[in-house]
Symmetry: C2
Subunit: 214 residues, 2 copies
């Protein structure tokens, strides 16, 4: 019973996500679903990244959260359009929420949309949002065992940002262990080491994003 | 439809959780549901805590995870009984999983059971496991805004462990901001600053736990 209901919900979500993906790509807009644990640095990465994008690459941000609109307010300070989805306790974004959020955004001339998912390394993996691809932000402080322990999430990423790399010396994190985990779970994903705090690795992230524009 | 199904599931879970709670307390066993984000340090806190407990306080650990049995193996090295629940991708533990796990544990003479939930700051809040109470492990590296952003979880805790306090100087974390958030969301919860890495604050945690034995 529970399984059937979930299957129907996921099927309806996938259809809606396909419509969103087609609508965005017909406008040459690339969209990235930004996922990661609470406090991995999803918003901080976007705050650092957006001002570094080439001036002609117009971006917008959809922020997902259980409660509060703090993240959208932080993003608004970068000068791009941002809108907040409050899931009212829900553990993931879905395509219907994203469709409503996109109605509040002027899509004209946009080349990029970042959709920041709820901080959760489990549930968001199951819900397509119409994104072009997925970026996981994983903080050094979370430990190097995360790909093996949260495989459903890491399996679906095109890019993993190993964030807070400035904390490396203060932790027991072994980069090689994380990379071996990714090789087991999702060998095709790219991995970039970044620090949203001090900016290291961010030029490589800009390049990665710009290379994938439509 | 979805809502009704969820309500039925939660109701059945609550009844089972009540049975577990009564069974454990009739044996004078206190059980703590250990919750927190992926990588907040739940297992590391238990590894540090268990050897510090008074010799007469026998403990056991139930480990919950999406995949792998790494955490149970880490705990087994402390010498206490430990058993692993694999949720096979599920985002939280439920009372039925805990009941099965408890069947694998010799309860005779136990005073404490720690149930480490799936790393997730959202879904586990809804599912009672028959625990005496809840402890959230929240890492300094996750930022000081977490109580406001994940209120459903922080609202249910008896104790919040502010872990990785050794990283404080390397982050922008403000202890007062975290404490104000907790005052808004759950003013009754205790907060202890600890480091599972260097052991600071751990004697206070031992005292907190021992004071609540049955």
């Amino acid at each position: 019973m529970k399984v059937n209901v979930m299957t129907d919900i996921l099927k309806a979500n996938d259809l809606l996500a396909r419509d969103i993906r087609e609508m965005l790509s017909s406008r040459r807009i690339v969209s990235w679903n930004i996922m990661g644990s609470p406090g991995s640095g999803k918003t901080s990465v976007l705050e650092r990244l957006i001002p570094m994008l080439p001036a002609e690459v117009k971006a917008a941000v959809v922020e997902g959260d259980l409660a509060t609109s703090r993240d959208a307010e932080r993003i608004a300070k970068t000068g791009v359009q941002s809108t907040q989805i409050n899931t009212k306790g829900g553990c993931h974004l879905d395509a219907a929420m994203v469709r409503s959020a996109l109605e509040k955004i002027d899509l004209d001339g946009l080349r990029l949309i970042f959709i920041e998912n709820v901080g959760n390394l489990v549930c968001p993996a199951e819900f397509a949002l119409g994104e072009t691809g997925r970026i996981i932000v994983s903080s050094i402080a979370e430990g190097d065992d995360k790909p093996d322990k949260y495989p459903s999430m890491f399996r679906t990423a095109q890019l993993v940002l190993l964030n807070k790399i400035d904390l490396l010396a203060q932790t027991d994190f072994k980069i090689e262990s994380f990379i071996s985990g990714m090789k087991r779970i999702n060998p095709k994903a790219d991995i970039l080491q970044v620090s949203a705090r001090n900016g290291s690795g961010m030029p490589e992230l800009v390049k990665w994003i710009v290379n994938r524009l439509l």
